[in-house]
């Protein structure tokens, strides 16, 4: 039997680093401390004739936020040890970034809370507007602005307005195309209503009607910029009907549909495309595999897994760009396109330091307008954070521990399960926890906090299944988010094993007893994909708990033992 104290979350040995080595624009900036000026952040050498600007996974964050990057992000199979599965110090070494520098703060978890006080919040759609305007002014007639999806969901205001706030704000930024994931959790009727009035393309080559297997949305769109023809193919999140509630869009089928990607690439080339771009919500490892199997894609703008990588990863002849999440970064990729080919590129992952970049006035006004009806509620203080609250990482984050504690305590459960979402902002030590903070971690359309009975065997089955969705060595079999967060129970996981053999030493923490496969436990959780799940919304459970404890003491989670 393993006691609570013996569960120690070990750091994961990093394998050989492969892929690109650090050599880009970040190196020059990394030697210095202190924030750069706006001009430095925006500086870009004159190059080529086409500019792609990529924003993805903003998760409805209109204002500057704190977002701590993961400490544990394990790659398996061919992705082991390669970006984005490099974190912390290894990441800084790989890309030659000075510890303690603004880039280190933006891209890694090292000293996050301390550096946050120095460098401030990141993101803010009004800052993004400024950067975008500057690029468009610099590159008139040559810019394509593409939104990778997970745009409409993730905040109090987006939930209350069913994404209307985000649609209004994004329309003001005038993207050329978008693809989607969480958008569909507003339900197919709401998606259709919005898309029918969208002044730009909503693309998804892998979205089909499941009755007749016919395309349900436009697959790709051709654009002309800088004298070149650019085909943008949309790829929505392939596992929506599995990872999110299928009943919300019952007539749609997704999937990777690799052959269909190839057919669309070929069709776009035949229609005269000089450049083919995949605007993807596959997740990085899926895109890396796709790039090695589909020919003719010049650029994949990746999304879903929220990775921020300072340089494109190159697979055969395809550039993979990873632009982070929550508005922390905007990617700029300039291409030299001649004779129907990409001859060269220059890239910059632009960090949106909100204290440095001047907000765009018209956008600030628009954000203030859409938030105004909710401002009093958003600002309401519920409690205080004693330590850093964050979510992102393969296993438990402190915000999830808080949610699990709330479920255990408010619902008198033995064990709590909280989904491994990658979205959710961070709260610094000493900061108030507001209603806005709680919704940033919980705001979605199937929030019912259930209370149910499960056998030990069933719990094991669930953990094994989720672990296989995350650590299957074949990325095409990976789906959904990070590992399910568990409260009240410890376990050990060996990610290198196969399904059924990864999880061991499941222990009920309150008694120290091993989990009995035959015994029934009371389990509380939220975000069930089953229709008509009963229970109060999770934000009410969390609010009620925080009100009761006042100050939240987040402790490092020591109940998951990771072997890799």
């Amino acid at each position: 039997m393993i006691s609570r104290r013996e569960f120690l979350q070990v750091s994961v040995a990093t394998g050989a680093l492969l892929g690109t080595a650090g050599s880009g624009a970040w190196t020059a900036l990394a030697a210095r401390q202190g924030l750069m000026s706006e001009a430095e952040l925006l500086a870009f050498p004159e190059f080529g004739n086409v500019t792609l600007v990529h924003l993805t996974d903003i998760h409805a964050q209109l204002k500057p936020i704190f977002f701590r990057e993961p400490s544990i992000n394990i790659g398996v199979g061919e992705a082991a040890g390669k970006p984005p599965h490099v974190t912390g110090k290894e990441f800084l070494e790989l890309y030659k970034i000075e510890p303690g520098s603004p880039e280190a703060f933006a891209l890694t978890y090292e000293d996050f809370a301390a550096l946050a006080k120095t460098y401030g919040r990141m993101g803010g759609i009004d800052r993004i507007a400024t950067v975008l305007k500057s690029i468009r002014a610099d590159r008139e007639g040559r810019v394509l602005f593409l939104d990778g999806g997970d745009t409409w969901q993730g905040s109090y205001t987006s939930l209350k307005t069913q994404g209307a706030d985000m649609v209004e704000v994004m329309n003001h930024l005038e993207p050329d195309a978008m693809t989607a994931h969480w958008e569909f959790t507003f339900g197919i009727d709401r998606v259709r209503e919005i898309v029918d009035n969208l002044p730009f393309a909503f693309l998804g080559q892998n979205i089909f009607d499941n009755e007749w297997d016919e395309p349900a949305f436009e697959a790709y769109k051709m654009f002309e910029r800088g004298g070149s023809k650019i085909a943008v193919i949309g790829q929505a999140f392939p596992y929506l009907p599995i990872a999110n509630p299928r009943w919300m869009f019952p007539k749609l089928s997704f999937g990777i549909r690799e052959q269909n990607v190839q057919q669309n690439v070929d069709a776009a080339r035949a229609a005269g495309a000089d450049v083919v771009v995949l605007l993807s919500h596959n997740g990085f490892d899926v895109d890396r595999k796709l790039a090695s199997r589909v020919t003719g894609i010049d650029v994949i703008l990746t999304g879903h897994t929220h990775d921020a990588i300072p340089e494109p990863v190159i697979v055969d002849k395809t550039l993979l760009v990873a632009s982070g999440s929550h508005g922390k970064f905007l990617s700029r990729l300039d291409l030299d396109v001649r004779d129907g080919q990409v001859k060269g590129y220059k890239y910059k992952l632009i960090p949106i330091f909100s204290d440095v970049i001047t907000p765009d006035k018209s956008m600030t006004e628009l954000v203030d307008k859409v938030r105004a009806p909710y401002e009093a509620e958003l600002k309401t203080v519920v409690g205080k954070a004693d330590t850093l609250l964050y979510r992102r990482g393969n296993f438990n984050g402190t915000f999830d521990d808080l949610i699990c504690d709330a479920l255990l305590s408010e619902r008198e459960a033995d064990i709590a399960l909280s989904p491994g979402f990658r979205w959710g902002t961070s709260v610094l030590p000493g900061q108030d926890i507001t209603v806005e903070d709680i919704y940033n971690a919980t705001g979605m359309t199937y929030p019912a906090a259930y209370r149910s009975e499960m056998t030990g065997a069933r719990l094991k089955e669930i953990l094994e299944d989720v672990a296989d969705n995350l650590f299957n060595p074949d990325p095409y079999y990976q789906q959904g988010g990070d590992m399910v967060r568990v409260g009240g129970m410890g376990y050990a996981i060996d990610v290198s094993q196969t399904i059924g053999n990864r999880i061991s030493d499941m222990t009920l923490l309150k008694s120290g007893e091993p989990i009995d496969p035959q015994k029934t436990y009371i389990v509380a959780g939220w975000a069930s994909v089953a229709e008509a799940t009963e229970g109060p919304p999770i934000w009410d459970v969390v609010t009620s708990y925080i009100k009761r404890v006042g100050t939240v003491q987040g402790k490092p989670n020591q109940s998951v033992l990771v072997k890799a």
Partner: protein, 151 residues
């Protein structure tokens, strides 16, 4: 929010977790030998070869109760050289046999699609027999998951 005592202790109905249980994982899979025997009976003495047959199936089933699959066999489909039949098996179902498609030169092409039910994560196997007796096989692993958590 204030939950009263009865609400605090109320158990939710229905299938739960982050995970809706689409398909029961509890089923007795066919013995591997049953699948092998079916293939052997189908192929006779012919060697099982790779190529010519392609099987399209999702990597992960969206709904285990109705999984779309497609089989396609390269063949000129002339009276001297055609695909005579294609057998589809699911090696993790209680009964591995799914369907056998029969073709003739009149078929024009050897392509068929259908939807099948899969009890659990397993291999879907398609075996094609040509008019000259040669046999080609392809296998795809289809995962039937009890669900994932968002992303």
């Amino acid at each position: 929010m204030e939950l009263n005592r009865r609400e605090i202790l109320a158990l939710s109905g229905g299938s739960i977790a982050c995970f809706a249980l689409g398909v029961s994982a509890v089923s007795t899979p066919a013995l591997a030998s049953a699948t092998d025997e079916r293939i052997k009976a189908f192929a006779g003495d012919a060697e099982l070869r790779e190529g010519r047959i392609s099987l399209t199936a999702p990597e992960i089933a969206e709904n285990g109760n109705t999984v779309p699959i497609e089989v396609k066999v390269e063949s000129p489909m002339t009276k001297d050289d055609y695909v005579s039949e294609v057998m589809v098996l699911a090696d993790g179902n209680p009964m591995p046999g799914v369907i056998t498609f029969l073709f003739s030169p009149m078929s024009g092409e050897a392509t068929a699609t259908t939807r099948i039910r899969l009890a659990t994560t397993q291999n879907v196997i398609a075996v094609a027999k040509m008019s000259n007796g040669s046999v080609f096989m392809e296998k795809k692993n289809v995962k039937v998951t009890i669900g994932g958590c968002g992303g």
